[in-house]
Symmetry: C2
Subunit: 304 residues, 2 copies
């Protein structure tokens, strides 16, 4: 165990952050608020303005972030972005010193997490896959569930960082295990979202009062976080993104590809991906996942 | 408002109960424990033994139960049973005096609830549809969600009865509205169960530890009552019935028939019904609904 794997400490451990979207912006800020020195980079520099104003340093590339940091976090959009930002010529691994830790918090491919881990190890760098669940609200309130894959000592060394961003941080296994667990999470949500939308459409067509129906069904065996959090938004016609449709389609695509590789048929997840693909085709790729309701309504020619 | 629609009171209001299965046995018992005089009838008299021992009277037919009661509750299996027990020659309505209340707590067809209500009204009898959510545990612990359809004054008169059996009792509208709401409830559960099973199968094939995965996903956006209550039973290979597969298939069939009548396509519910039909074909009609996992496992040739 090298010096660098001592527990991360504000004032001692220098952190880097790449990707300041809806999720990343809040998560990076929590680490800064915990007292860590921070260097940031993001595709659109404007998005870093609040962090720079609060004392973060700017670097012109992921590589430069890594050159100045002991631990680098990435939170970007798609696996292709992870590949470029972590493995590219100007990427994180190119800038990491031996003993550094590279943490990818993007929901991405388990196989890519394994590839990153192997290439990191060749440079004496530790890699952790650490996707999260909890959405924009969970990120803002530091109540995320962080699903961890990688070497135990590296994961343990970052306990103060996980604690700053989430309420749950559990190691699920070696490289890729965090990503696999996140895909389980998305598989659970996908079919449940179909149920939420179909239940509301049934209630609507039956002439029931939707808010009153929710009072009866939310507290019983049909209760779920999606029902509690998203059904009221659907009823209020609020389809603003907590989590983007296009990102959810990406996640379901990864899960289905992994499942096919493992010879596992997932008919519910496949149906959900088809319905979300229709939703994107209808122009809602940048809406929130609760907009699935619009695709199911359109299917039966219902104006919502 | 007749005398009979004064609020139900132990010592004054005589209750009747028909159907002492897993759910009905507990619910009837709660009313007795609340101090109500009780007359019971059930297809298999042996099942009434504990209630008779605790002071209930026996009647040889639903009609006789009604002849001796101010309020009669039915909790049987299928709509055909409801039709026979409530509308048959030896049924509840044939025995009810004007001003009596007939409450069907079976999950049944909204159209049958309307038919019962019309035929009851012709005799001066009030009808309420009052299906419940919460399963065997909810029935045992008097924590059911009771979904009510019918005339408001009759529903209000029975507040002491609802309070004895459930934690939530909400009027959803006129006759059939309780049944429609229960079908919303089942629609929500159906797709969610697919998600729970598929999530666990993905985790299994990915080589993850299932209990550890549940720790990560249960508390976040993927959380649901089914995940919390049924996933551990699936992991423990416990497929004993809380709620029978064959009853769930019945409920989904009613919901899909109603939806078709309302010109509403519900692809998720349709998929769930197909998978549960396969499960029944595999010999699991009398297992609990969490046994869906076995059908999805078999689909990918996984021994569970």
């Amino acid at each position: 165990m090298t010096d660098k794997l001592r527990e991360a400490k504000p004032g001692t451990t220098k952190l880097g952050w790449i990707g300041l979207g809806v999720m990343g912006a809040s998560m990076c800020r929590h680490l800064m608020n915990a007292g860590f020195a921070m260097t940031v980079h993001t595709r659109t520099r404007d998005k870093a303005a609040p962090h720079l104003a609060a004392g973060a340093a700017w670097a012109d590339s992921p590589r430069e972030v890594a050159e100045r940091s002991d631990v680098v976090f990435t939170m970007v959009g798609f696996p292709r972005d992870v590949r470029e930002v972590v493995l590219g010529d100007a990427g994180v691994l190119a800038g990491c010193a031996p003993g550094a830790i590279a943490v990818d918090m993007t929901t991405s491919e388990p196989s890519l997490a394994v590839e990153i881990s192997v290439r990191a190890a060749a440079r004496g760098v530790f890699a952790i896959d650490a996707p999260v669940s909890g959405g924009d609200v969970g990120a803002r309130e530091a109540r995320l569930s962080i699903m961890l894959g990688g070497e135990e000592e590296a994961i343990e060394a970052l306990r103060p960082c996980w604690a700053a961003m989430g309420k749950t941080a559990i190691r699920q296994g070696g490289p890729g295990a965090g990503q696999h667990t996140k895909l389980v999470n998305q598989t659970l949500i996908a079919s449940n979202m179909i149920g939420v939308c179909e239940g509301l459409l049934y209630a609507h067509k039956a002439g029931l009062d939707l808010d009153t129906v929710l009072q009866s069904v939310s507290s019983g065996a049909a209760g779920s976080v999606s029902l509690t959090n998203l059904a009221p938004r659907i009823i209020a016609r609020d389809f603003a993104p907590g989590f983007y449709v296009e990102h959810f389609i990406k996640d379901m695509g990864i899960a289905l590809a992994e499942a096919e590789r493992m010879q596992l048929a997932l008919p519910g997840l496949a149906l959900a991906k088809q319905l979300y693909t229709a939703l994107a085709a209808q122009g809602h790729a940048r809406a929130g996942t609760q907009a699935l309701h619009l695709a199911l309504a359109k299917l039966s020619n219902i104006d919502w």
